[in-house]
């Protein structure tokens, strides 16, 4: 009887304070998320002359270095058609992942004062870092599409699908990693070092500075190939190349062997796995979140 009475109370039922609805809670409070993202952007570029220009400058410099060393000095530009585009399509994916990894891992610790004193869904912070990175990727996609159009991009439906699939995989794996690592980072600051190592590994383990053909030549058909293709960043990178690089190549180039077999199917399965990983990461986060306020 009392339970029924309580439900009918105008102020709602008695419940434990504190938001424990996880990612759904973040979705419900989109306005707060938007303000946190804006705050992050403002703070990051405050007192900086180039401001948002940095999100063009940094990739431009990285791209130039890659192209100069790998493309020209090591001569890969002669083996791989449109090698510059090959690098750029991959770089977008790889840096999306590494940037979310770095910023996401620090996100909860960096918002210490809010976590300790205010009642907000804590998932807000890793989600906001992922959103900030996505915001920075915008200009790069504009440049990518522009460059492809100039070079004669003629996408088939598979290419468009591959592009979307690549983005979806990237977003979900980045979110999963940001969630899990931001929570682990509260108790174990070792994560910071671990993250650097992962960032380095990811940079080399996606076909960015070398084409998929090299991988296929050396480890094709072995279990190592399966390990290579179990990496979501590698698959997302390949999908992005399928979307932008392949359809931009001259039509007289034979592209067989440029992409692994069954890439699209692999992509769909990978997306499923990454979404499952988001759920696992949310579970880890909720388990650890209860002690955030006292550990920070």
């Amino acid at each position: 009887m009392t339970a029924a009475l309580r439900e009918e109370h105008p102020l709602g039922p008695m419940r434990p304070p504190g938001d424990t609805t996880g990612l759904f809670g973040v979705f419900r409070r989109r306005y707060l998320l938007r303000l946190l993202v804006r705050k992050e952007l403002r703070v990051r570029y405050q007192a900086s002359l180039l401001g948002l220009g940095w999100s063009y400058m940094k990739p431009l410099i990285r791209f130039s270095m890659y192209f100069f060393v790998i493309g020209i000095l090591l001569g890969l530009r002669e083996n791989v058609p449109l090698f510059a585009l090959h690098i750029f399509t991959a770089m977008i994916m790889v840096s999306f992942f590494t940037e979310t990894l770095n910023a996401g891992t620090k996100s909860v610790v960096k918002n210490k004062s809010l976590v300790r004193k205010m009642n907000v869904p804590r998932e807000m912070f890793p989600v906001a870092s992922t959103a900030v990175t996505a915001y920075h990727m915008g200009p790069q996609y504009v440049i990518l599409v522009g460059a492809c159009l100039l070079l004669g991009w003629s996408p088939d439906p598979t290419a468009l699908l591959a592009g979307l699939l690549g983005i979806a995989i990237m977003l979900s794996i980045s979110l999963a990693v940001a969630l899990a690592f931001s929570a682990l980072n509260v108790s174990f600051r070792d994560i910071g070092n671990f993250v650097e190592t992962i960032g380095m590994m990811v940079m080399w383990s996606a076909p960015q500075l070398y084409p998929w053909e090299f991988v296929d030549d050396q480890i094709g058909g072995t279990w190592l190939e399966q390990v290579y293709l179990a990496n979501p960043v590698a698959v997302a990178t390949l999908l992005n190349q399928r979307a932008f690089w392949i359809p931009t190549l001259d039509s007289d180039i034979d592209t067989t062997g440029f992409m692994p077999d069954g890439l699209m199917l692999r992509g769909v399965i990978m997306l499923g796995c990454c979404i499952a990983l988001v759920a696992v990461a949310q579970w880890i986060f909720s388990r650890l979140e209860t002690s955030f306020a006292e550990k920070l």
Partner: protein, 254 residues
Amino acid sequence: MTESVVVDHVSKHFVMQNARTLKQRVVRARKGELTNPKFLALDDLSFTIEQGEAVGLMGLNGSGKSTLLKLISGVLRPDKGVVLTRGRIAGLIEVSAGFHPQLSGRENIYLNGAILGMDEVEVNGKFDEIVDFADIARFLDTPVGRYSSGMFARLGFSVAASVDSDLFIIDEVLAVGDPPFKKKCIARIKQVRDEGRTIVFVSHNTTQVKRLCTRALVLEDGRLGFDGPVQEAVHYLKYDADGDDDEDAEGGEL
């Protein structure tokens, strides 16, 4: 009457020393020491606050007041027992908590409002009221990092008080700020109280508690030492024995 806050057999531990590295943990374990000795901040605490009550939370430093407030506001979770609340909670646990020093006063009002659970329309509607109360109209576009501590306190209180909360939690924020501002805050809290919203108010200032609250809880080492009328709580704490200190005298003018 309906309950607003129920605290039922709540205990909360804190880990005193965190042996963080693997080496420290192994060394401690080999010495046979506890790796992480614990400190009991709240010990099997139970009480109920009814809707519309204004409760003063008193006790010496370290008696568990802030821990209790954090449990009620949902920032901390109890180790044992249950905390239940009804309706929307807004609180001011620390003045500077929701503010970012590099953002302007205006941006911080929106951000802090959103953190306290308001949406854009609500903050827009309350904006002028918040600015008026905090008296910072001239400095709205200045980063709050450059504000004086008084301005900070005013802005923090002003935003928190503007939320249409059912439960309003205030932790010693009135210790900062000058007498005219304190007076304004007290008036505002009274207004909140008279609207029938529940208030939990932490203060060492007996005069303030007497003026605002109808009931006082006194915490002692994480246990409930006293629960009853404010006058008796003051007597229980022996705060009245040493005569009035400056704070009290000043509060008496209100």
